[in-house]
């Protein structure tokens, strides 16, 4: 992997980072923000493109894309592809992006079972019908991790990964190093 930026280049231009959550809980984003005041130091070297943090809707050409969440519908696939096309480095962040995580628990059931349970059979359902508005993205028959659809450059496991882990992997990349997680930061839960 080619280094993103050499350290001496920091002041010239900032590294552009985009983030998104596909089928996820935004917990990884919350954990990212748990780096608290350290984010100020990070912002000296980093600027954010599309991210829930700034509400930019589309991913512009970026250096790093952080992707949380699994693929569960057509919209997730579009967003993921947009990230892959625009980001030099794609990082799968968290259990859902890496192996489907909690959203993948619906893979125990057929899509029909899921939709019928939610929209037809559930107690208290008013006007039972399966929503078919064209604005609503269709669900994939199974939830998938993102590396099954695009090439992923790095993986940051955890549910969520700790703020320290985020900082470590980003710092490594900013310093032009191959990112690595120390053993104590490696966990799947």
């Amino acid at each position: 992997m080619t280094p993103v930026k050499k350290r001496e280049a920091y002041t010239v231009s900032k590294v552009r980072v985009a983030t998104t959550s596909l089928a996820g809980c935004f917990g990884c984003h919350m954990s990212f923000l748990d780096m608290d005041e350290r984010i100020v130091g990070l912002l000296e070297h980093v600027e954010f493109s599309r991210s829930p943090i700034n509400d930019i809707k589309h991913c512009e050409p970026c250096d790093i894309g952080l992707i949380e969440g699994a693929l569960c519908n057509a919209d997730n696939v579009h967003v993921l592809k947009e990230f892959r096309e625009n980001c030099k480095i794609v990082i799968a962040v968290g259990a859902c992006a890496i192996n489907g995580g909690v959203p993948a628990m619906r893979n125990h059931f057929t899509l029909q079972e899921c939709l019928e349970e939610a929209f037809l059979d559930e107690i208290g359902v008013d006007n039972p019908h399966i929503p078919n508005d064209v604005e609503i993205p269709l669900l994939l028959s199974k939830v998938h991790p993102i590396h099954e659809v695009v090439k992923v450059d790095y993986y940051l496991p955890g549910c969520p990964p700790s703020a320290d882990a985020f900082l470590k992997i980003l710092t490594d990349l900013l310093e032009g190093k191959e990112p690595s997680l120390p053993k104590e930061m490696l966990h799947y839960d």
């Binding site: 799968a92 259990a95 890496i98 192996n99 489907g100 995580g101 909690v102 993948a104 628990m105 893979n107 125990h108 199974k142 998938h144 991790p145 590396h147 099954e148 992923v152 790095y154 993986y155 940051l156 496991p157 549910c159 997680l181 053993k183 490696l186 966990h187 799947y188 839960d189």
Partner: protein, 257 residues
């Protein structure tokens, strides 16, 4: 004259009848393993303990130690192979750690940590497997079963029962229960059985005791699997010590059986 083998250049003694794994653990050398448990008959199915013996691949838990063996164990290449095998185990089942009570106490997960596994690498199989929650105090979640057959052997060899078996072939292999209905509730398993506690993953869990130890303070949050597996041997040694042999010296930990 003591007979010896060499593991990664270190000469260690062995006794006739010992496997490479037996000799290594006795010498405090960790060889990653999942389907092996000292005291139960060797199985050789998970293949995590694969080593190169004089250049040839062998499972250290089943290969008898023999004079003249030069064994490669803790090498980058072998650990890469083991990582791939661990990834295979992860993707063939439904190992969703955040939703599993065993997280932090799971040996499969701990092996993943030990080998620096970050992802499953392969496409997920996402099999649909049955959960058996019929038993009042135990639950059998086949999604997490890795076919190590520790429960099968523990039931047969230690509990004197025959509660579990593996059925089916290839990726259709699955754990079954030896009861008239095939349900755990109708088997003769008891909470005190070793088979109820030996599962290295979250396939067999004890009900009503979930999350008593908070995540972050569980076995593998605090220790590496190399430490716990080597300590387990020390525990076994200590037990022998209780039975009259006075060579044991170290106190055991809280993990293992």
């Amino acid at each position: 004259m003591n007979k010896t083998i060499k593991i990664d250049g270190v000469e260690i003694p062995f006794k006739e009848g010992q496997t490479i794994m037996d000799a290594a653990l006795a010498a405090d050398i960790y060889i990653p393993h999942l389907c092996h448990k000292p005291g139960l008959s060797p199985h050789g199915s998970c293949k995590l303990c694969t080593v190169d013996v004089n250049g040839r691949a062998a499972s250290s838990c089943t290969m008898p130690a023999a004079e003249g063996q030069e064994i490669e164990n803790d090498t980058p290449a072998l650990n890469e192979v083991r990582k791939t095998i661990t990834q295979m185990l992860f993707i063939e089942g439904n190992h969703l750690c955040p939703s599993c009570e065993k997280t932090g106490d799971c040996t499969l997960q701990a092996i993943g940590y030990h080998l620096g596994m970050l992802d499953g690498h392969f496409p997920q199989f996402y099999p649909r497997r049955e959960v058996d929650a019929s038993h009042p105090t135990l639950v059998l979640d086949r999604d997490r079963c890795i076919m190590c057959e520790l429960c099968v052997r523990a039931s047969r060899e230690c509990d004197g029962k025959n509660v579990f078996a593996i059925s089916g072939r290839g990726t259709k292999r699955h754990l079954i229960v030896n009861s008239p209905t095939g349900r755990l509730a109708d088997s003769d398993i008891e909470l005190d059985d070793l088979a109820a506690h030996i599962c290295p993953v979250g396939a067999i869990l004890i009900k009503d005791h979930g999350y008593e130890v908070p995540i972050g303070r569980r076995t593998f949050d605090l220790h590496s699997v190399a430490e716990t597996d080597l300590d387990e041997v020390i525990l076994t040694k200590a037990r022998h010590h209780d039975e009259g042999d006075d060579s044991g010296e170290k106190e055991g930990g809280v993990y293992g059986v």
